[in-house]
Symmetry: C2
Subunit: 347 residues, 2 copies
């Protein structure tokens, strides 16, 4: 019977890595994810920050790391020998489709590209450039896509006769919050995606329900309206917004900027991936559930990115090149422990 580590992995790892062995990570872009990666590197004794690369004026950027260096993205080509892996922290809409195939010509790279429909195209672009240059590019790393994807894959492979369910939340959707802010008369807003409890319970009970979009999630909006704005119109405009809200049961609550700042400044998120399947003659049901409850969506995503940066370095050292996803990476590559250690402590 598994006995557990009984101590923090970080403690086990502390002090075992000489500076020369460390994985040198470049952070490209310094938004929420870039800052999260910087924090995550500090928690991984075998990693170090090679530099933060920005499109802004480097002298204008103050980063968290004491003595951490900030460069212009234009300096990247001159840093080829000083960086093992670049973690590209741009947006999926316009940054990553351009940056990832470009940078993989010079570096091993990781990104968190999350536009599910465009993954095949992004994969092909990164793969071609990575193979030509002999680098590794791991795309769509994070929790969805990422850890949730892995759990969908494992669930499907183990229980081929079954159904997949993914629920998101309770958590803040930046995209939906931004959409509300674009409504006339709205000063600020925060939108929470909330899984419908009864739907989750039905899935957990093995009922395999067919669920519409409306039956799976509700949307809670906290809105700061401009003085004198027509709140009824704002509420109607939000609730009827196609793609974002029209297909959901949406609640709109008007609050003051002070209330929003006091109670809705965090970026929590999470969700569930459930595989509900059966074996034998179908009478034996099985539920596999993977659940995340995250205080900080960007910091957790960043932590996943750094673990996969470790994998990218190791794969590159083995001579592997091309585009990879979480599906292609053996779990052992993510751990700073050796094969013997993980078999002894975690198997």
């Amino acid at each position: 019977m598994y006995s557990g580590l009984g101590f923090q992995t970080a403690v086990l790892m502390k002090g075992r890595f000489k500076d020369m062995d460390k994985i040198r990570i470049g952070i490209v872009g310094y938004g929420n994810i870039g800052r999260g990666v910087e924090m995550a590197i500090r928690q991984n004794a075998d990693c170090e920050l090679a530099g933060v690369f920005t499109r802004r004026d480097p002298s204008s950027l103050k980063i968290a790391a004491e003595g951490g260096k900030v460069y212009s993205v234009n300096d990247l080509p001159s840093m080829k020998d000083k960086i093992d892996v670049c973690i590209i922290c741009g947006g999926s809409a316009t940054d990553l489709p351009k940056q990832t195939p470009e940078l993989v010509k010079m570096f091993n790279v990781i990104d968190s590209f999350d536009t599910h429909a465009r993954i095949p195209e992004h994969f092909a672009n990164v793969d071609a450039a990575a193979k030509e240059s002999g680098h590794v590019g791991i795309i769509s790393v994070g929790w969805d896509p990422g850890m949730f994807s892995l759990n969908r894959l494992y669930g499907n492979a183990i229980l081929p006769e079954g159904k997949d369910y993914t629920f998101w939340g309770r958590g803040v959707s930046q995209g939906h919050s931004d959409a509300i802010r674009r409504v006339e008369g709205v000063l600020d807003a925060r939108q929470y995606t909330v899984p419908v409890e009864s739907a989750v319970e039905a899935v957990r009970n093995g009922e395999n329900p067919e669920l519409t979009t409306r039956q799976k999630h509700t949307r809670e909006c906290y809105v700061v309206a401009a003085e004198g704005a027509d709140k009824a119109r704002i509420e109607a405009e939000i609730k009827n917004m196609p793609n974002y809200f029209a297909d959901y049961d949406t609640t709109v609550t008007f609050i003051s900027q002070e209330e929003l700042d006091a109670h809705h400044k965090g970026i929590p998120h999470g969700g569930f991936v459930i595989r509900s399947g059966s074996t034998g003659d179908g009478t034996h049901k099985h539920i596999i559930e993977y659940r995340l409850k995250l205080d900080s969506n960007p910091e957790f995503t960043s932590s996943v990115l750094v673990a996969y940066a470790r994998a990218a370095k190791r794969l590159a050292d083995e001579g592997v090149s091309g585009c990879k996803t979480v599906f292609d990476i053996a779990p052992a590559y993510l751990s700073s422990m050796s094969g013997e250690e993980i078999r002894a402590h975690l198997l």
Copy 2:
């Protein structure tokens, strides 16, 4: 946003595999796991049963598969060209330490070796034999060790500053049930391992409690006593049994054989792996929870074994040899879908 498969994987896969492409699986040993593997092969359109191999008289064995062939284990050497992967379904105490290193000399093999403390030794034995013969041997496959191990590894790699918790149950422990049956005056027994709800909740809430053995699980025993047996003595003997029960809060309930047969014949199990960690300056907490709720412990274990048999075949086709664990296998190898398909449907 991920849209889901919307249909069963089995349907997608149906009819795409010609017989000549199928993975030919040999089942060595026909107990609960062997029968489960036979069932699981039917759910995987790219797999087929090459034969069941038994130490008993083959003519005495009736298997579930219509037209399925039963052989003596002594016939295995003559079947080298007719089997792609052998799934060895023996016990961890005496069968697997002997069978797996022996059979990997002739076949790619999978086992569910689950004596955690002896895994390093078993790994070394299988690795040496597998490398010499050029085969792949994947050991300790199932859910613990197996899927639970994977989740411990992923959790540790993503959240290096944190704590691991593994809870088992509610489920039947065969070992504990057997131990009760050895008590004088006991005719039959069934033991359930039950996680302590309040402990699970404390962990889920990010409280990172230090938990003793007694605080994590309770043990429920349903016992059929012989007529006239001293029930007080039986109960005391069970509750004080070292290793098995002495460190737990144990309840003993005497029931009739009829009640046991009616309500306690199933072999359900399951449990939770929880990684509770923090990021940033430690203020942001994250909970990663992996949960299994299984109607049939052996059928689920068998389903995992068959998925890894697919991986063994693919690795062997690539020229890989040696001993592997679930840590060493990229998730994509488990799926019957192609790389393009899993990226399009599951990422």
